[in-house]
C-alpha cells in the first residue's frame, strides 16, 4: 500500500499527546506523584516460564495507570491549576514534555511492535516479526525488536537541539528499563532481585551493542546495516533468508526517512508513529516536500499568532526544519 504525501507522518489517531502531556505535568505539579507502572496487558513469556507451563496462570496485569489510558480526561480544575503553575514558573515545556512524549508515548509505540499478549491475536506488526521473519517468540527477542525501534527514534532525537534531544533519549531508555524490571518480576516470575539485575545488565549491554552496530550501518551502507540486523535482530542465524534481511533494511531506512522529513516541533510533540512493516513508504517528490513544509509552517505560525495556545503547548523547537 502506498502512503500519500500528507499523511506520511501517520499521525496517531488514538491518543492526543498534547493532552497527555498536560495531564501528567499538572499531576506532577500538584504532587500526586508520577506514573511508573504501565498498561494492563501482559506478554506471553517463553524463555523462563517453567513452573507455569501446565496450570493456567492468572496474569497479573501490569500497572494500570489511568493517566496513560487512552480515554482519560483530566478534571478541569487540575488542568487549569497545572496551566497556572506552568505559566507562573515559566517552565521549559520542551524539557518537561520529554517524559510524557519520549518516556510514555514513544516507548509504548516501540514496545507494541513486538508485543505478544497471552490469549490474544498478534498485532499486525508483531505478526510480521514473529511469523514473516520467523523470529522466536521470547522475551529477549521482544527486547531486540524494541531496541531496534528505539534506535530509530534515537537517530531523529540526535537531530534535535542537544539539550532536548539528549533528554528525550534519556527518558526513553529510563522507561524501557523500569518497564523491563517490572515485567521480569511480574510476568517472568523471577523472585530474585539479583537475577533480575543480572538480566538488566545483560539487556543494557545488548542495547549498547545494538545501537553501536546500527549506527555504524546507518552511516556507512546497506550491507553493513544488514550485517548489524543479522547479528542483533536475527541473533546471527546461520541460514538466513537474505530477502528478509533486505526487507528489514528497507523498513529501517524508510522509517528514518519519514522521521527526517518531520520538523523538530512535530517530532517532539509525538506526531510520529511507525509505518507497518508490511506497507511501503513512498518517497516525496521535491514539490510535495516543499508543499508539506509550507503547510506545516503555516499551521504553526497561525497557532502561535492566534494566542490560543495553552502554556503547556508552548515550545521553542523549530517547526521549519
Amino acid at each position: 500500500m502506498l502512503r500519500s504525501a500528507m499523511n506520511m507522518g501517520v499521525y496517531s489517531s488514538h491518543m492526543n499527546p498534547v493532552t497527555i502531556s498536560r495531564a501528567i505535568i499538572s499531576i506532577n505539579q500538584i504532587g500526586l506523584g508520577h506514573v511508573s507502572r504501565l498498561f494492563s496487558t501482559s506478554i506471553v513469556t517463553n524463555s523462563q516460564e517453567t513452573n507455569a507451563k501446565n496450570q493456567p496462570k492468572r496474569i497479573i496485569p501490569l500497572a494500570q495507570s489511568k493517566y496513560e489510558s487512552k480515554d482519560y480526561k483530566l478534571p478541569k480544575w487540575k488542568e487549569s491549576l497545572g496551566e497556572f503553575v506552568i505559566s507562573s514558573l515559566h517552565l521549559d515545556m520542551d524539557k518537561v514534555r520529554a517524559g510524557p512524549i519520549a518516556g510514555s508515548y514513544y516507548y509504548n509505540i516501540c514496545r507494541e511492535q513486538g508485543l505478544q499478549v497471552e490469549g490474544e491475536k498478534l498485532s499486525p506488526s508483531a505478526k510480521y516479526f514473529y511469523e514473516t521473519l520467523k523470529l522466536p517468540r521470547t522475551f529477549s527477542q521482544w527486547f531486540q525488536i524494541t531496541a531496534l525501534h528505539e534506535w530509530m527514534l534515537f537517530t531523529r532525537m540526535r537531530a534535535m537541539p542537544f539539550k532536548y534531544g539528549r533528554n528525550y533519549q534519556q527518558k526513553l531508555v529510563d522507561r524501557t528499563f523500569s518497564d523491563i524490571e517490572l515485567r521480569l518480576f511480574d510476568e517472568m516470575n523471577i523472585h530474585s532481585g539479583r537475577i533480575v539485575d543480572q538480566y538488566l545488565k545483560d539487556f543494557d549491554t545488548q542495547l549498547k551493542g545494538a545501537v553501536l552496530a546500527y549506527d555504524e550501518g546507518f552511516y556507512t551502507d546497506d550491507a553493513t546495516l544488514a550485517t548489524a540486523v543479522w547479528r542483533n535482530l536475527f541473533a546471527g542465524r546461520k541460514n538466513i533468508d537474505i530477502n528478509l534481511l533486505e526487507d528489514v533494511v528497507k523498513y529501517i531506512r524508510s522509517q528514518v526517512y519519514i522521521m527526517s522529513r518531520l520538523s523538530d516541533r512535530e517530532f517532539a510533540t509525538g506526531k510520529f508513529n511507525f509505518v507497518l512493516p508490511t506497507e511501503t513508504v513512498k518517497k516525496l517528490s521535491p514539490e510535495e516536500e516543499l508543499q508539506r513544509k509550507k503547510n506545516v509552517i503555516e499551521k504553526y505560525e497561525e497557532l502561535e499568532k492566534s494566542g490560543l495556545m495553552l502554556p503547556s503547548e508552548k515550545s521553542n523547537l523549530s517547526y521549519s526544519n
Binding site: K134, P136, T155, R158, R166, G209, R237, K238, S260
Partner: protein, 150 residues
C-alpha cells in the same frame, strides 16, 4: 552468489561469527564448491587474533543467559531449514545485489539532517574514526563526553 558474497565488505569490528564467512560457507556448499574448514568462523585469512581481541570479543558477548535446554529447542524449531530451489536462489541473489548496491540508502536519502545531526554534528564521524581506528579518543576528549555529553 558466492562471487558476490566474496565482495561483501569486511566487518570493521571482529565478532565471534562473521556474516560474510557463515554465508560464504553456506552458499559454497550449495554451489558444490569446497568449503575451507580450517579457517574458523572468524574471518577469512586472519585467524591470528591477538589475545586482547579475543578477550574483547568474549567480554562483549555472553552466552544466552539462563536459557533452558527446551527453550533452546523451541528457538531451534522456529528457525527455518535450508531448501533451495533455483528460484529461491535467484531471489536471494537479487536481494544481496540490492543490499550491496546501497539501493535503500540512496532511495530513502535522509541527507545531512540525519548524518550530521544538529544536536551532535560530530557524532557519526567520531564513531567511524573510532571504529576504523583512525583517530582514537584521548583521555580528555573521553572525559569531555562524560561530563558534557558530546
Amino acid at each position: 552468489m558466492v562471487r558476490l558474497l566474496e565482495k561483501f565488505p569486511e566487518e570493521r569490528m571482529k565478532h565471534m561469527v562473521s556474516f560474510k564467512q557463515t554465508q560464504l560457507n553456506r552458499f559454497k556448499r550449495v554451489a558444490g564448491l569446497q568449503v575451507d574448514t580450517n579457517n574458523n568462523l572468524n574471518g577469512e585469512n586472519d585467524p591470528k587474533l591477538s589475545i586482547n581481541e579475543i578477550k574483547d570479543m568474549l567480554n562483549r558477548s555472553k552466552g544466552p543467559l539462563g536459557l533452558q535446554r527446551d527453550d533452546l529447542k523451541k528457538i531451534q524449531a522456529v528457525i527455518p531449514r535450508d531448501q533451495f530451489t533455483e528460484q529461491d536462489l535467484k531471489k536471494q541473489l537479487e536481494s544481496l545485489k540490492n543490499l550491496m548496491s546501497n539501493k535503500y540508502q540512496n532511495y530513502y536519502d535522509v541527507g545531512d539532517k540525519m548524518y550530521k545531526p544538529a544536536g551532535n554534528p560530530q557524532y557519526y564521524s567520531r564513531l567511524m574514526d573510532e571504529i576504523n581506528g583512525q583517530k582514537k579518543e584521548t583521555f580528555f576528549s573521553a572525559m569531555k563526553v562524560i561530563f558534557f555529553g558530546k
